[in-house]
Amino acid sequence: MKSSQRLLISALFAASVSIVSNNVLASGNPKNGADVFAEECGDCHSTKEGKSKKGPPLHGVIGRKAGSFADFSGYSDSMKQSGIVWNEERIDAYISAPKKVVPGGKMKYDGLPDATSRADVIAYVMSLK
């Protein structure tokens, strides 16, 4: 197989994964996500605007640069230097394996393996007003 063919197949595969992932994310149910949030996230993160707990608030996290919430000083250097700007895909990748996406990060969380649960909780976070 020529390298151009391999590249094309890889690109198609990546695109298909992305489409599937986006479809899953798009199908997230915020009502279910509220339960997932309570089970997985709520001890350390608040959904109230501006309220920090052990972690920064997740209200308004979409579009926020990682490690940039001004009223929270508990970020690791790794998080601040990650260059991440949070969107659905970035959050999905991060909460599926936090230590892989931000090695050296402080968040003591092993990750949420279930894609549907991730989509639901992301939908919930996005729904916060």
Partner: protein, 461 residues
Amino acid sequence: MKLLRLAGRKTLGRWLRIPNTLLAVAALAGLFASPANALPSYARQTGADCASCHAGSFGPQLTPYGQQFKLSGYTDSDEKGVKIPLSAMAVANWTRTSKANPDHPENFNDNNNAALQEASLFLAGRLTDHIGTFVQGTYSGIEKKSSLDQMDIRYAQTLKLGESEGIVGLSFNNNPTLTDPFNTLGQWRFPYTSSDFGFGYGPSPLVESLGGSVLGLNAYTLWDKNFYAELGVYNTPSTGTLNALNASDAGKFSGVGTYGRLAYVKDMKRDNFSVGLFGFNANLQPDRNDLGTSNNYRDLGLDAAYQFLGNREHIFSLNASYVREWQTLNYAYANNEASNLKNNLDQFRIAGSYHYNQTWGATLGLFDSRGSSDSGLFGASSFNNRPNTAGYLLQADWTPWGKEDSWLAPWANMRLGIQYTGYTRYNGGSSYISGTDDSGNPIDRQAKDNNTLSLFAWFAI
């Protein structure tokens, strides 16, 4: 924790001959070792609500997040400014027993008593990035005295070895089982508050009876989030130190007391469980004026806990423990206090609770302590020379605050509750000897006469 109370007064006191020794420890455990709770100073420090660390929004029943906070040395924070690690707590109650109690506390009635049972001040929170405290000084409105109640000063940090990591720490403390992160052992098990006008829950092993009378240094780890191990060494302070702390004297250890704990814990977020082993060994010389011969106590226990948290609307928990104590009573036997050189004590406890919306709670508990027949130790209080005591506890409670949006959060918390203790067996059977009349004849009292109804109000700021 009221583990030895009056059953202890009538049995263990004689057992050790010296009323100010283990009897005093029993009284200390019963009267002064007050329950600790969801401290608002921790909530202010972490930004977390009480409900994050405690099932039902009020302590001390910990969630995995609360266990993590404790094991991290009470140092987790929201990293916002300086936090003052001070809190206060008060418990007031009204108590009625089925039949008046002739052995009631001084200055109170023989029944239907209302009291400010205790008021506590806490130094509780982060002192440095790796050092935190849980120190409680308590004024007893029953005994009209103050004492250093609980002390747990910790150093903790995260340690990484290769791909695995864990929390490792040291605790300087004054009570075996105070350091434990689960709600199955002596200090932290249900009931989390109980009336000092009640009749306790039967005799307890030594490991649960030393609060305030010892000082210990424990090393512990929670490794890979699953494996908990703890090893502690305890000694008895001098009488001068105990007097300075207003603490009771259990006697003097010969050598040191050793405490060990192993547990496997699994947090699956939606629910969690733990299973474990614990042990304690000490040689206690009960009379400091008569050193040289000691009573040996070897405790070995099993415990298990399950907690369903879900989305926190419906929380269920089940906590259970069993302890066997092997006693070799060299001192008591030599002084004709005990009829047997060797005795055993078995203690079983279980409690299941349900909380709705982190506000409404209901708990059912069972207690059962059984010991060897020993006429020397128990003959004056038991018709069959046994200390056996068993019964049940029912509690309903309301915790209106303690959530993220609660009124006065994170500055105050409150629990109001009703608790009923029923006895099926007390000091050996369905009836026991509660004392002697003027002619020296034993006074017969039914176990059910001790059934206790209590209303309580528990505040923390």
